[in-house]
Amino acid sequence: MSLIKDLFTNWSVWRRPGYFESFDYSWGMVIDLDRCTGCEACVVACTAENNLPIVGEKRFSENREIKWIRIERYWSGEYPNAKLSFIPMLCQHCDQAPCEIACPVSATYHNQDGLNTQIYNRCIGTRTCAVYCPYEVRFFNWFSYTWDAPLEQQLNPDVTVREKGVMEKCTFCIQRIREAKDHAKDDGRRRLREGDIQPACAQACPTKAIVFGDRNDPDSQVAQMASDARGYTVLKELNTSPSIVYLRRVDQEHV
């Protein structure tokens, strides 16, 4: 039975060196923390694009909010030399994703675009992936959420509205990727071009701190910026090899 064959190939394939380079694309991001001002435009943009629920004050207070991208803030120093740094935290789409081995039903897996994807309607809600995720960027639908009419008219028809008991997370706006591929096919192009796609956060960002592109394409903007001297990946020691490279904020103490 072919399924059994697949089963065993899948088992070993992940360990093959250079496996991810062999993908069609490897979508990635570069976030320049020296540009990021923490204005949170990306947060609302994501909410609007991906039908994130309005959970309400009570559930928010229970840490049940759903924000695929959030701005984390870290203080250093004391008044008057206090400094506040922002870092946008979203799914890092790790190549060695801890969450992917976790799911008993393969609701989360690595697809041919190098995306760490989440299939909502396959999820049975064991929440293991969220426990395994070191970046805390997976969000669980503790309830089924509703929208006060007519707010639901804004919901994006390209994205499912998740029901209770389902895990969800940043998809790099995969619906946009799909649409772009669709248009590319219409134009008879096999591959997408640089700049065909922008996730909601990158598009909204007023300082253009977020750059999105294909890491497998050496002359793409992401590939080039990723090699910047300021580049780093969050929690590198965990060896999750994320798809998101951050550019450190320059701290210029002496002006």
Partner: protein
């Protein structure tokens, strides 16, 4: 002294038979419903016959389902479209008069969906039409159906099976069809 298993079982025979009959009846009832009210071929508000249009008159599918090649949805023709012909053609037929009533009262026709995919499924008619998949592959021999009937199971296995057979690019990637 001791009781044999067979003997013991005997005591439970009537009970077993009763349960058996009950189950049989239950299943029979279920089947009856499926037979008399088939979900795959519901009764439509207007007895529109594809046999006449697609069969006899050989009208191209996309003449009415205009969005099939341009969009994810094939689109059901607007009442206006039907009236385009039926202002003059076959106006005496009762079904056509139904149509005319809808048109005169400026009401939409509440067609019943036969091929209904779940909300979490992304299906693009455009892609399939452009890949030159015949409509009949999924919708069956429509031109022979007096009342539209769903022939394909529209199950995931069925979709993926076709994708594999045609070696569709990323045909087995969940996100190709899910959203």
């Amino acid at each position: 002294m001791s009781v044999s298993v067979r003997e013991a079982l005997g005591a439970f025979k009537p009970a077993a038979i009763a349960v058996g009959i009950a189950l049989a009846a239950y299943i029979a009832g279920w089947v009856a419903y499926e037979v008399f009210f088939p979900g795959t071929a519901p009764v439509q508000p207007i007895e529109f016959s594809h046999v006449i249009h697609a069969g006899d008159y050989q009208i191209d599918c996309q003449y009415c389902h205009i969005y099939a090649a341009r969009s994810t949805t094939a689109g059901v023709p607007a009442v206006e479209k039907c009236m385009g012909c039926h202002k003059v053609i076959a106006t005496d037929k009762p079904e056509i008069q139904k149509l005319t009533d809808y048109w005169n009262s400026r009401q939409a026709i509440p067609w019943i969906k036969v091929h209904d995919l779940a909300d979490f499924v992304y299906f693009s008619h455009k892609r399939h039409v452009q890949a030159e998949v015949a409509c009949q592959t999924c919708h069956g021999e429509v031109q022979t159906m007096a009342r539209i009937e769903r022939v394909a199971p529209l199950s995931m296995k069925w979709c993926v099976g076709c994708h594999e057979e045609r070696e569709v690019e990323n045909g087995r990637d969940c996100w190709t069809c899910h959203k």
